[in-house]
């Protein structure tokens, strides 16, 4: 007998989508459309060009010839940009929508977690919603009865169990919803990005839960945008792009492939931002000297080997190369680079003057200067660079705000294998801990003992 849990063969899904029709710009046009619309729509129905009242004239392939197998017990990740077809795929696998072509064979009971809290009713109490939501997710009443206490304990809402959920804080609501979902016990579990719920502590709890699920021998299909989660939970990952599979392989390779392909795409746009809006537009050049003495022409991100890189991973070295053009010789210039977050907080500013790097003379011509960063200790995310060049004293030759985007990707900066919390901070700290310090003679409160209970240090 086959050990496959899921076999997907040539799966395609076509959606009808609305064609962009001319928008009603004026009230008159809106009224005219309200009058002629019914006739147009009725005519379409009669001619058999439409099946419903919504005017969906264009078609779009959300999935195109997707084939893959999943053996029993494997945890497979799915990554891809928004609209790549990940959610459509999970919807077909969970029988919510039918494929247009191709087929899927599934062995075992499927449970899907496409969204937590589906079917929660605002007016019902927490207790009642556990039963309702459980039933909706496919649990029997007996199963829910059996797991009820666990569900409530996990959600940490026992005090509010008999309060209608409309009075819950959003955090409590989400905790309860996830908790119900986490207690599904199907052979095959489909999960779509449900871990991004609740506060940080609860997210960690959810991740812990997912980690256990993935090691419990169940088949799991997991969609996420969090690369670190994917790398850690999934043994194999499938990269989707425009409804097609572009990569299947070990998660590490898949993530690398995905990140690189994404940045190849995004990079032109970034350059566009840099070139069109910032470089050429004199408005953004705040202090440009009228004679155009020195001006920046381009920024490049490189690794120490000199290769241009689309993004940098935190903890890795980075070389920022600033190209400039000198039209009139000057003495003792100072080059400066500022790095700010997307929200505009200045993270750091360095200049040759600050670092007392002396450049006695700058002659006419094109040149570049490298800013070498030993390792980037920025949290993953997007940062903007501002550059300036000045002379001695308050003289600015050129200064451009937010002229290039630096993309920092996640790595295991602290070598612990644990998740960074993206929202909490900007910087990663180059540091280490010395935990066993003491002011007492015979060792401090912190002990290096492995089994505290056995050695009688803690009485349970």
């Amino acid at each position: 007998m086959s050990r496959l849990a899921i076999r997907v063969v040539d799966l395609s899904k076509q959606y009808n989508i609305g064609l962009e029709r001319q928008k009603n710009r004026t009230l008159r046009e809106a009224i005219v459309d309200a009058v002629t619309g019914p006739l147009r729509r009725t005519a379409k129905l009669l001619r058999g060009q439409a099946t419903g009242a919504a005017e969906l004239d264009a078609t779009h392939w959300a999935l195109r010839n997707v084939s893959f197998d999943v053996p029993h017990g494997e945890v497979v990740g799915f990554i891809g940009r928004n609209g790549a077809g990940k959610s459509t795929l999970l919807k077909i696998l969970s029988q919510i929508t039918e494929p247009t072509l191709g087929f899927v064979e599934i062995r075992g009971r499927v449970g899907s977690l496409l969204e937590v809290g589906t079917g929660f009713h605002q007016e019902l109490t927490g207790r009642e919603n556990v039963y309702l939501n459980g039933a909706i997710l496919g649990m029997t009443k007996r199963e829910i009865d059996r797991k009820f206490d666990e569900i409530v304990a996990f959600a940490e809402i026992d005090k509010f169990l008999d309060t209608p959920v409309k009075h819950y804080s959003s955090g409590m609501y989400v905790r309860l919803a996830f908790s119900v979902a986490a207690h599904l016990e199907p052979e095959i579990l489909l999960v779509d990005e449900v871990l991004s719920v609740g506060d940080v502590t609860f997210q960690k709890k959810c991740l812990g839960k997912m980690n256990e699920v993935s090691r419990s021998g169940r088949t799991v299909l997991f969609v996420s945008h969090n690369m670190a989660t994917i790398e850690n939970l999934c043994s194999r990952t499938i990269v989707l792009e425009d409804g097609k599979i572009v990569f299947i392989g070990p998660s590490k390779d898949a993530v690398k492939f995905y990140l690189e392909s994404t940045f190849e795409r995004e990079q032109p746009a970034e350059r566009g931002l840099a070139n069109k809006n910032r470089w050429a537009n004199p408005e953004h050049r705040k202090h440009r000297s009228p004679e155009d003495v020195v001006s920046y022409t381009r920024i490049e991100f490189k690794n120490p080997e000199g290769e241009t890189i689309p993004f940098v991973r935190s903890g890795q070295p980075l070389v920022i190369r600033l190209h400039y053009c000198v039209r009139k010789a000057i003495t003792r210039p100072s080059f400066g680079v500022g790095i700010s977050t997307e929200h505009g907080t200045l993270v750091s500013y360095v200049s040759t003057w600050l670092c007392s790097v002396e450049i006695p003379v700058l002659r006419c011509g094109d040149g570049f200067i490298d800013l070498c960063i030993d390792y980037v200790n920025l949290m993953p995310g997007r940062y903007f660079l501002s550059v300036m060049v000045g002379g001695t004293g308050p003289i600015f030759y050129d200064s451009i705000d937010r002229c290039a985007a630096l993309i920092v990707e996640e790595t295991d900066f602290y070598r612990s294998g644990r998740m960074l919390n993206r929202n909490r901070s900007i910087m990663l700290l180059p540091c280490h801990w010395e935990p066993f310090g003491s002011t007492e003679e015979n060792g401090g409160p912190a002990q290096k003992v492995q089994n505290a209970e056995q050695e009688g240090l803690i009485h349970l």
Binding site: A54, H72, R107, P164, H183, R418
Partner: protein, 300 residues
């Protein structure tokens, strides 16, 4: 790498994950094939039966939620037909002197209103059920029939309350039930199949044509006057009376009055026509629903 060892409090829930179903032991896991369904599909009643617990929870939810945050609560189920009865008695009974098959007009009207309210509430509530539950339809799999069916069935509670009031009022008008009462379940069933049939049609249609939500209240009003509630069907002469039975609610209302009030509307051709139409509506509606069901998640 291990997130599990992080600050995760060891909740008892972890046990559930530690002991998954032993999937390697399962020899004959059922294989499910998902592909595009072609043409007409089966009614899928077996599946609906397998999901009966969900159906039960939906009904339970609807009943629980219906009168939440109201003062009068379930009393509304009684007040509505009672108030209508009073108004009808004044305008149709007293002022217009509409005949009432030789029973007092108030009880005559009420015996029609009780099954009618069940029907009209059921139809208005369930015709929008799929769109109202679009969140569910798009995110979870279950037989979609459960949504309109549960809405209709949850109205049974209201019906029973109103029905009890009808029974309680009968002695006041010196009406005693006759042996015809044994036929009552049949007419209850007829009211149920009619409500289900119409609801299933409308709810499926509503997904594609939002016109339904505007048409239904209007249609129900129209339907009300095409049903002998405020007046007796004896005002019509044969063969129109039998044709009249095409509206299955005619059979229901006539039957109610015959079994409870002992009017002269014994089951006859009207009842047969009503019965056949009702069954046809239900079966046809279910097929129609099942045929469209596959598109619901995409267009709802």
């Amino acid at each position: 790498m291990n997130y599990g060892e992080m600050h995760t409090d060891p909740a008892p829930a972890d046990q559930a994950f530690m002991n998954p179903p032993d999937i390697h032991q399962t020899k004959a896991l059922p294989t499910l094939r998902i592909e595009r369904s072609q043409g007409w599909v089966s009614l899928g009643l077996g599946e609906l039966w397998r999901y009966r617990e969900l159906l039960y929870f939906f009904i339970w939810r609807d009943i629980k939620v219906r009168y939440k945050q109201t003062i009068l609560g379930g009393a509304w189920a009684i007040i509505q037909p009672l108030a209508t009865m009073l108004i009808f008695s004044i305008f149709f009974g007293r002022l217009a002197r509409v005949p009432s098959d030789s029973v007092p007009y108030p009880i005559f009207a009420l015996a029609g209103l009780v099954p009618w309210n069940f029907f009209s509430n059921g139809v208005t509530q369930s015709s929008t059920s799929l769109v109202a539950g679009s969140n569910l339809v798009k995110k979870v799999y279950f037989p979609r029939l459960a949504l309109p069916v549960s809405r209709v069935l949850s109205g049974v509670v209201d019906f029973l309350l109103a029905f009890a009031m009808l029974i309680a009022l009968m002695p006041h008008y010196h009406i005693r039930a006759t042996s015809h009462v044994v036929w009552l379940p049949f007419f209850l069933l007829l009211a149920l199949t009619t409500s289900l049939g119409v609801s299933i049609w409308f709810s499926a249609m509503h997904v594609q044509f939002r016109d339904v939500q505007y048409a239904v209240p209007f249609l129900v009003q129209f339907w009300f006057f095409a049903t002998p509630i405020a007046y007796p069907s004896s005002m019509l002469s044969q063969p129109w009376r039998t044709v009249y039975g095409i509206n299955p609610m005619v059979g229901v209302v006539e039957g109610f009055r015959w079994t409870l009030l002992g009017t002269d509307t014994a089951p006859g051709p009207i009842t047969l026509v009503s019965f056949l139409v009702s069954i046809a509506l239900l079966i046809g509606g279910t097929f129609y629903f099942r045929r469209l069901e596959r598109t619901f998640a995409d267009i709802v």
